[in-house]
């Protein structure tokens, strides 16, 4: 037991570096994925039927395709089509695409939750459609969607573990490497699990706190 704890102490700095890589991946995926999600959300409730169908098909394919498939598609596909990208970049691209598809549905629900009378009020005040969208619907819609988006952020952080398969030195990859070197797979993988929990559990509490906070005064 004390031997395992000593090992854990030994490995922790390495795994912590991996946590930082995982957090970076998740952060960049959200940074690039959320705007994609917002555009898809607006497009899939567009008045133009062609735009709407196109967006809905994209979203359904993006949500229907497993994240690991998207990841490997980008990683093996981009070089084959003549683009040289690092593993890290392809990881960010793939996770951002997945983020875009999933968050578009979350954001669409948020935008739809904005009461219709507020749009009417904007029209009555003589605001243009564009201004209503910019100043009334989008800010409130995003606010409604925040708890669900935070829940999704946990999922995308967990999904960064998939990038082990394309050799990004994130948490799982580093733990596996330690395991391969020491044959103490169980010990190091449990430690990796604890590192994941150290991020996901407190963040989960934050999500339910936010849910209550926003729920109480948005009704």
């Amino acid at each position: 037991m004390s031997e395992m704890l000593a090992n854990w102490l030994d490995w922790s700095p390495q795994l912590f570096q991996g946590v930082l890589v995982s957090l970076q991946l998740a952060g960049l995926a959200l940074l690039f994925g959320l705007p994609i999600g917002l555009v898809l959300a607006l497009a899939s409730s567009s008045g133009n039927r062609l735009v709407r169908y196109f967006a809905v098909v994209l979203v359904e394919i993006g949500r229907g395709a497993p994240a690991l498939v998207v990841l490997q598609m980008v990683y093996y596909g981009l070089p084959a089509s003549g683009m040289t990208v690092s593993a890290f970049t392809s990881g960010v691209i793939a996770l951002a695409l997945t983020t875009g598809a999933y968050t578009s549905e979350i954001l669409r629900a948020g935008l739809n939750a904005v009461p219709h009378c507020e749009i009417e009020a904007g029209l009555a005040l003589g605001m243009t459609r564009r201004d209503i969208l910019r100043f009334v619907v989008i800010p409130q819609g995003i606010l409604f969607a925040i708890p669900a988006l935070m829940g999704f952020a946990i999922l995308i952080f967990q999904a960064t573990a998939l990038t082990y398969t394309i050799a990004i030195p994130e948490l799982l990859a580093r733990a596996y490497r330690v395991g391969a070197a020491t044959y103490l797979y169980l010990d190091v993988l449990i430690l990796a699990g604890l590192f994941y929990l150290a991020i996901t559990v407190p963040f989960g509490w934050l999500v339910s706190y936010t849910e209550r906070r926003l729920g109480s005064h948005l009704g």
Partner: protein
């Protein structure tokens, strides 16, 4: 083109085996778990809560690694299929227990009160009054979960399960890398999830109509 599709189709049985195996493990094991979680005794509800949070807080691929490489290095050696079904089953247990719990919360309190008033025992109330209704409201979220489980089983390829994902990456690596095997794989996964969605809707409608036609 056809060759590619045929080679991916070889992975369908493994994908379905792991998906339905894990779903069955989860659907059954979640029953005692949700009953523990709902218990008034902290000694029962606390462990269930911790189990659910711990299982859901760690990515599925890490669970598979813990079971296959971790336990496999000395404690108990499982085949990659057994490890995949066990690992994904573990994950399913936690998610399905929460779905069942949502079902219990959706029931009106009057159901339990009425059965108490009729002199039914707690076990009978659960068996004949609560459980069937919980199951009914749980069908749609269970189907949604089954579809996401189908996609999550792709991680089983990393521990050597010969599923659709495994054949897709083999094809891509063999062919010097391209988008095609993965586009086909994605379409195949979407196609596999369609029957689940259709079936769930049919089951839901049947249960609903039975509930109303008294």
């Amino acid at each position: 083109m056809i060759d590619l599709l045929v080679s991916l189709l070889r992975g369908v049985p493994a994908t379905l085996l792991v998906t339905f195996g894990a779903f069955a493990v989860g659907a059954i094991a979640a029953v005692p778990l949700v009953l523990m979680r709902r218990s008034r005794w902290l000694l029962l509800s606390m462990p269930a809560r911790i189990y659910i949070d711990v299982v859901r807080g760690i990515p599925p691929i890490v669970w598979l690694f813990i079971i296959f490489f971790g336990l496999g290095s000395g404690v108990i050696v499982l085949s990659s299929y057994q490890a995949a079904i066990l690992g994904m089953g573990l994950v399913s247990t936690a998610y399905l227990a929460e779905i069942y719990r949502g079902g219990f919360l959706a029931l009106s309190k009057g159901q339990r009160e009425a059965s108490t008033a009729l002199g039914m025992t707690r076990l009978d109330t659960l068996r004949y009054i609560l459980a069937p209704q919980v199951l009914r409201v749980s069908v749609p979220p269970m189907a949604t979960f089954l579809v996401s489980l189908l996609k999550d089983t792709t991680v089983a390829s990393t521990i050597g399960v010969r599923d659709v994902m495994m054949y897709a990456s083999q094809q891509a690596q063999g062919g010097g890398g391209s988008f095609m095997p993965f586009i086909f794989a994605a379409l195949l996964y979407i196609a596999l999830s369609i029957p689940v969605v259709v079936l769930a809707r049919a089951v839901d409608e049947r249960l609903r109509s039975r509930g109303q036609a008294k």
